[in-house]
């Protein structure tokens, strides 16, 4: 299982990097979908089966479909690819890379002191997730639902114009 975990982790990091550096929006989205699926695999290998499947259903299967849908609606042609290429000059990369590198160093520093992660497999059943969500975390669920309602009302208002 730990081999699978590391394999999925490597794929996840690589596909995310490629997704960031693509100039063609469709290709970037494809790599991003790959990254989400590998993330779901990671969840699965550490025993969170329910979260893994939800990751695929909600993120890879629904949200990213909307992204691709928007990319199709706009039908961005070669002009945007050239524009994107002009924007993504090598000098642009320096600032974000330095900041990301610092964060990575910080993360590694923190990880160095924590003990070996426990990859023991306690499989979390869907029922336990539900009990946790509507027990101790019910406030967060209610807040999220209010946020979603606001989004829904906003979208309805915009569509009426």
């Amino acid at each position: 299982m730990s081999t699978l975990f590391y394999l999925a982790a490597v794929i996840s990091v690589l596909s995310t990097l490629i997704a960031i550096t693509r100039v063609n929006v469709t290709h970037a989205l494809l790599y991003f979908i790959l990254s989400l699926i590998s993330l779901a695999t990671i969840f699965y290998t550490i025993g969170a089966h329910f979260a893994a499947v939800l990751e695929v259903i909600v993120y890879a299967g629904a949200i990213m479909v909307m992204y691709v849908f928007v990319a199709m609606m706009l039908n961005l042609g070669h002009a945007t690819i050239d524009q994107e290429r002009a924007w993504l000059k090598p000098s642009i990369w320096i600032g974000p890379s330095v900041m990301a590198g610092l964060l990575l160093a910080e993360l590694l520093w923190v990880l160095k002191d924590t003990g070996a992660a426990d990859m023991a497999h306690t499989v979390t059943a869907a029922k336990q997730v539900g009990i946790a969500l509507f027990g101790p975390y019910v406030l967060a669920v209610e807040l999220a639902s209010m946020l979603l309602l606001a989004g829904l009302v906003g979208a309805y208002h915009l569509a009426r114009k």
Partner: protein, 329 residues
């Protein structure tokens, strides 16, 4: 004799072989039945039982030039047709066929099918987008809108079954039905919505707006030829097979004989027989639907989905939940 365990190599080989052969046979069955129903000239006259028509179709698919248009976006264009058969085969893996016969026994089996169906949407979308052609783009857009809408009702419609059986595991759902009776009776509304939404999800008639020959040539697969088109084609049939097998599992008692009638002595043989019989009935139903119904307009499809199916499925979940709560589990 062999010991049948879920997920053994023997099981995997047998099921994979059976699914692929059935998907290939379905192409023949569908053309043959439609040939009789629609008075089509080819499939019910050529060779014995119209087999020559299917052989000619296969020969055409394999020998046609495999063409990638120079104006297409190469990577997504090639990836798109591969997604749908792979994803549909993966979702078939969780379908329980008989006790001990199956490929995976996931605790989140039902959600797995939905995850895979969600990924299946990319096939038509990417195909339409990568073809770089107006008709394909329109087909891809239609496919995306249709699949993302009907996925919602399909997901909500089976929540009633999940509430009643207390599980996402397909085998446990079948066992629960053996104990409490078929879910098609308490969940009739959910069942109807599931069948309609599932049909829309497989993009089969009458929901083939993404292809819509009379309006947008062949929609998202306009630019595809040879085996790339063949993969879309086979993927659609495997999808139909998955749907036809999922309906008995969720609503008609899975591998158990109906009301204990005609139960064969061996549990495994009886299970395979009844599962195949029930699946076969649904496949035949979907072929008849194709022959009987006409394609709706796109706005009718969307209005019907969001204004009829969504409220109905939500009410169904509410009522089921309230009844289960009132009965105190």
């Amino acid at each position: 004799m062999f010991e049948f365990v879920v997920g053994s190599p023997l099981n995997i080989a047998l099921i994979l072989g059976a699914v692929l052969v059935t998907a290939a046979l379905l192409i023949w069955v569908e053309r043959r039945v439609l040939g009789f129903l629609n008075e089509r000239l080819g499939p019910n006259r050529v060779g014995p039982f119209g087999i020559a028509q299917s052989l000619a179709d296969v020969g055409k698919l394999i020998t046609k030039e495999d063409w990638v248009p120079p104006f297409a976006d190469k990577l997504p264009f090639i990836v798109a047709p591969i997604i749908v058969p792979v994803v549909m085969l993966l979702s078939f893996a969780v379908i329980p066929i008989a006790p001990g016969i199956g490929i995976m026994d996931l605790n989140v089996g039902l959600l797995w099918v939905f995850a895979m169906a969600g990924l299946g949407a990319y096939s038509a979308m990417l195909g339409g987008l990568a073809s770089n052609n107006k008709f394909s783009l329109l087909g891809g857009l239609r496919a995306a809108g249709q699949m993302i809408s009907y996925e919602v009702f399909m997901g909500i419609s089976i929540l009633g079954v999940v509430i009643l059986s207390d599980s996402f595991n397909l085998r446990e759902i079948v066992e629960a039905q053996h104990k409490n009776g078929w879910y098609v009776f308490p969940q009739f509304i959910g069942f109807i919505i599931f069948v309609i939404a599932g049909l829309a999800e497989t993009k089969r008639w009458p929901f083939d707006l993404a292809e819509g020959e009379s309006e947008i040539i062949s929609g998202f697969n306009t630019e595809y030829s040879g085996m790339k088109f063949g993969l879309f084609f086979v993927g659609e049939y495997i999808g139909m097979l998955v749907l036809s097998a999922l309906i008995p599992v969720l609503f008609f008692g899975g591998w158990y004989a109906p009301f204990g009638w005609l139960e064969l002595p061996n549990a495994i043989i009886s299970g395979i027989f009844w599962m195949c019989a029930k699946t076969g009935c649904w496949i035949f139903f979907f072929i008849l639907v194709r022959a009987a119904l006409v394609r709706p307009r796109y706005d009718q499809l969307m209005n019907y989905g969001w204004l009829v199916m969504l409220p109905l499925s939500l009410v169904n979940v509410l009522v089921t939940g309230a009844v289960v709560l009132a009965q105190g589990n």
